[in-house]
């Protein structure tokens, strides 16, 4: 058998992707099992609702967003609860993906100019050591997890202002604001890179699978680990 698929060959990739990931099924590789995708979309959904209910409170130029939930008062009432749901989803996602997201020493330069080279499709930004996630994705994961904690803590202060000293509240407002801005701006690129910029990526979060070529181009070491091609050593 040329594939490492553990199931009977008649199982399609979608069926395999319900419970397993990092396995090859015919021309496809299962990248995200169903639970992983569900967690991701719960994070996305609650965050989107958070944007829809938070941004009209942030600035009147986004006031129109409040109409989707029934007005600014409704937005104000549900925003904190959406925030709680978002944090719980992030927490589950954190434990689901934490192991794959450990930053390796050689990936540290993703913090700097490597991102620029990557965005220019510069071949020097590619590395055959790139595993299931590249350095940029890993950094984004840690930033999002930490940012969610910042949003939660500052948000709780803003929710119950009477119980905290004024200077702390002022700090909370600024932290909530800055964190949200970083979230929103980086989310634009998260969505852009996973759809228009890098075709074949979006399917990994919908169907759960990617093509072999996609895996070899974007995540060479993961490709080798999963397919057993070249050096079939797995940890």
């Amino acid at each position: 058998m040329s594939t490492a698929a553990p199931r009977a060959p008649m199982d399609s990739a979608v069926v395999v992707a319900r419970t397993r990931e990092d396995v090859v099924v015919g021309p496809e590789i299962v990248r995200h099992r169903r639970f992983s995708r569900l967690v991701h979309w719960t994070v996305a959904g609650t965050f989107f609702l958070g944007l829809l209910t938070g941004m009209p409170i942030w600035s009147p130029i986004f006031g129109w967003m409040a109409y989707f939930v029934g007005g600014l008062t409704v937005a104000r009432i549900i925003h904190p609860w959406v925030g709680i749901a978002f944090f719980i989803a992030i927490l589950v996602q954190f434990f689901e993906w934490r192991r794959d997201m450990r930053l390796e020493p050689w990936e540290k330069d993703w913090v700097g100019p490597r991102v620029v080279r990557y965005m220019r499709y510069d071949a020097t930004a590619d590395d055959p050591r790139t595993g299931k996630y590249n350095g940029g994705q890993k950094l984004y994961f840690w930033a999002v997890s930490l940012g969610a904690l910042g949003l939660l803590l500052s948000g709780l202060l803003m929710w119950f202002p009477t119980y905290f000293p004024r200077w702390l509240l002022e700090l909370a407002f600024v932290i909530h604001d800055v964190t949200f801005i970083l979230f929103a701006a980086s989310l634009v690129f998260h969505i852009y890179l996973s759809t228009a910029a890098e075709p074949g990526t979006f399917g990994s979060m919908i169907r759960g699978t990617v093509t072999r070529t996609w895996a070899r181009v974007h995540h060479p070491r993961w490709y080798r680990e999963v397919t057993g091609e070249e050096s079939p050593r797995r940890p």
Binding site: E170, F173, G200
Partner: protein
């Protein structure tokens, strides 16, 4: 008096939208002639149809420890030991109606807090979303959240009376002449005269509390011990909190630019570089079997 609007929360429009020229009004509070009769407290409750609020014993004659969503005017009975014995430093705790209101700046709901042309700062319950941001914005700790209405409440400076040419209820009720109401100009004149008089009577530190940090207030207070506003539970130098200014005036505009910039950046990137496509990376290249 007019109800034209000078400033409105979370609104671009509202700055000097009034057509009529109206003077800024002010209350005048002379703490030295207050006898603590609480007639102003009662008048406030009565005019504003506020229910009786259960009092709390705080060790003095003060009605409540602090302002309350249904109690907008509270005389603070601050006691102070001097050589001659204990002295009451009574002070009228209420919304100060700042010329530069921190509550209005912090408020995210369009039109929920307005400043009329005559300087009165008012909460509009129809627009208030009960987020309590104004609590953080207020340098005098005045706005209170009402659990019954889910909205903020505070002194309106009896805008409904002032608008038809009447003085605020508290002023009307004061028996000693410690409270007056009129144009800010007139009240300043009155206050300055009183401060001079106090200085002549041995209160060398007497002064007028009309804090410049918020560009003055529409409630001006004569203090016998003007060098110690904290004795009256007044902040020495109130201003719109730095955190609120930083958040609203710097972080927010930069954030809006950053978000739209990111969207524009993604589009620009796609125009210049296009998709990072290697043959065989797309789903459609995989020749997928039917799911």
């Amino acid at each position: 008096m007019s109800l034209d609007i000078r400033r409105s929360s979370a609104s671009v429009w509202g700055s000097h939208s009034g057509m009529r020229t109206v003077p800024t009004v002010s209350k005048y509070v002379d703490t030295t002639t207050c006898i603590g009769c609480k007639a102003c407290e009662v008048a406030c409750q009565e005019w504003n149809d506020l229910p009786p609020v259960e009092t709390h014993q705080v060790g003095t004659y003060q009605t409540l420890p602090t302002l309350h969503p249904e109690y907008w005017n509270l005389i603070r009975f601050n006691e102070r030991d001097f050589d001659g014995g204990i002295v009451w430093l009574m002070r009228k705790d209420q919304c100060m109606h700042c010329d530069e209101p921190g509550c209005l700046e912090a408020c995210p709901a369009p039109g929920a807090i307005v400043q009329y042309m005559n300087g009165i700062v008012d909460v509009n319950p129809d627009q208030c979303i009960g987020c309590q941001y104004c609590e953080t914005g207020c340098p005098f700790d005045v706005p209170r959240f009402s659990k019954t209405t889910g909205k903020m409440a505070k002194c309106t400076l009896c805008v409904d009376r002032v608008a038809v040419g009447l003085e605020p209820a508290c002023i009307k009720a004061c028996p000693t002449g410690c409270l007056h109401f009129g144009t800010k100009e007139d009240m300043l004149m009155l206050a300055k005269g009183r401060v001079q008089q106090l200085k002549g009577n041995g209160f060398a530190q007497a002064s007028l509390y009309d804090p410049p940090g918020v560009n003055g207030t529409a409630v001006i207070t004569v203090l016998a011990h003007g060098d110690h506003p904290e004795w009256y539970d007044l902040p020495a130098n109130p201003h719109v909190p730095w955190g609120v200014k930083f958040w609203k005036r710097i972080v927010r505009p930069l954030g809006i630019i950053a978000i739209f910039g990111a969207i524009a950046g993604a589009f620009a990137h796609f125009t210049k570089y296009g998709p990072k496509e290697a043959r065989g990376t797309s789903d459609k290249d995989a020749n997928l079997p039917p799911a």
